[in-house]
């Protein structure tokens, strides 16, 4: 053992007796348990068995463990930002029956978009009995100049009287719907569209049917009518 003038190494010079040792150890365990139950669990894991975390505000230290996920689909970002202002439109498109030579039973309605721009849409066919008697082709294409090829992308071709969805334009161009009424009754398509696009003026490629949005119709109605020339007098 140690020299007489040096205390014993490795443990306390005056070890506590059996009873006191057990008491001290149990005390340490109890104090440790209290610290864990009262402070550590509330602050670290938001578990508060004694209610001390709530009483002291320790529980507010807790924050859920965070898992970071890349906001991409493939190599494409899922969050996108556009210089184009946001807009939304409601468009009512009337379609006649196919057997009426005077009317229009099929047409295209598209909007102009930059590559990467997006819109959300929803349309329903009103006045149709059999949904399968309505056909639509959701697609986009470029507007090629002479000598250029046209780039086309088809998003969905289907029968059905309703469609909801979104598109991210794969290229600069016009993106929208070919709509065809195959039923024996005239119908109307109510389209809601919102996002980063521009309307195509009536008569241009993408809106040859001269469809106007409800907003455009209301705007025109609000304009003062030109005075009728007084030819009768």
């Amino acid at each position: 053992m140690a020299d007489t003038n040096e205390p014993a190494e490795g443990h306390v010079a005056n070890p506590p007796n059996r009873k006191r040792l057990l008491l001290l150890t149990a005390g340490a365990a109890l104090a440790g348990a209290l610290i864990v139950l009262g402070a550590v669990l509330p602050a670290e894991y938001n578990v508060d068995p004694l209610g001390i975390g709530k009483a002291t505000g320790l529980s507010r230290l807790w924050a859920p463990p965070q898992i970071d996920v890349a906001a991409t689909a493939g190599n494409q970002p899922l969050a996108r930002f556009y210089p184009t202002p946001f807009r939304s439109d409601e468009v009512i498109i009337k379609l006649d029956t196919p057997d009426n030579p005077e009317g229009l039973s099929e047409l295209e309605y598209k909007v102009a978009m930059k590559k990467g721009a997006t819109y959300v849409y929803s349309w329903q066919v009103e006045g149709i009995d059999i949904p399968e008697e309505f056909y639509s082709d959701f697609h986009g294409h470029t507007l090629p100049k002479a000598g250029e090829k046209m780039v086309v992308s088809t998003y969905r071709q289907a029968t059905g009287s309703t469609s909801n969805g979104t598109v991210v334009a794969p290229f600069d161009g016009i993106h929208g719907f070919y709509l065809q009424n195959q039923s024996e009754k005239p119908v109307q398509v109510r389209l809601h569209i919102a996002g980063f696009y521009e309307l195509i003026p009536p008569g241009q490629e993408g809106n040859l049917a001269r469809i106007k949005t409800e907003g455009q119709i209301a705007e025109e109605a609000a304009k003062p009518r030109p005075a009728v020339p007084d030819v009768l007098n």
């Binding site: 340490a28 864990v36 550590v40 894991y45 230290l61």
Partner: protein, 237 residues
Amino acid sequence: MSTGRIGRLTALAGLGLLVLLAAFEPALAHGIGGKDAAFVSATRGPDFWPFLYLGAKHMVTGYDHLLFILGVIFFLYRLKHVALYVTLFSIGHSITLLAGVLMKIEVNAYVVDAIIGLSVVYKAFDNLGGFKTLFGVQPDARVAVLGFGLIHGFGLATKLQALRLPSRGLVENMISFNIGVEVGQLIALTLILAVMVLWRRTASFGRLSIAANVLIMTAGFALIGYQLGGLVLNGNA
């Protein structure tokens, strides 16, 4: 003010700080995180000084390792013995740090850290002469320090592995980290030893050494609870 009083105050302040760190600041998650983690993932090839620094930082701020070292040297009066035990501890944790990372041994960090907490309890109980008093046998302290050193090394390995160390320069960086751990341990040990030597000269050491070891044991129990809580409530680390 007498030297004794200064020593006593320094000792109490130092010990108090350690116990506070261990018991009341568990929010100081003892891993490698934030900008350090980002740095490690971005390394390409050997990078000696930064990894040395990370190893040293991990040790100096690692209250679980420090508490164990404090327990080990608490009643070691001869520098020769301090050197022996600390060397045993270093050999132990270096073996498992290197082997754990190289052989890609996956150990649950919560389990390892709970056992590290147990090592603190063990050493404090041993310091109270607990094994002799209760069971009539004194386990070989050298074997215990080496054994728990192995466990502490697994703890170090899990922290490094959690960073998904790039394989280029892995061995060099891991050895740099290990050297850093030893440097950090030496720095911490010097400070702890200085405080202990000052404290031992005062009369309060005799009165308070039992209480101090009970406090260290308490902190060890709290560490066990903290890590087992994480194991149960946060799932696999």
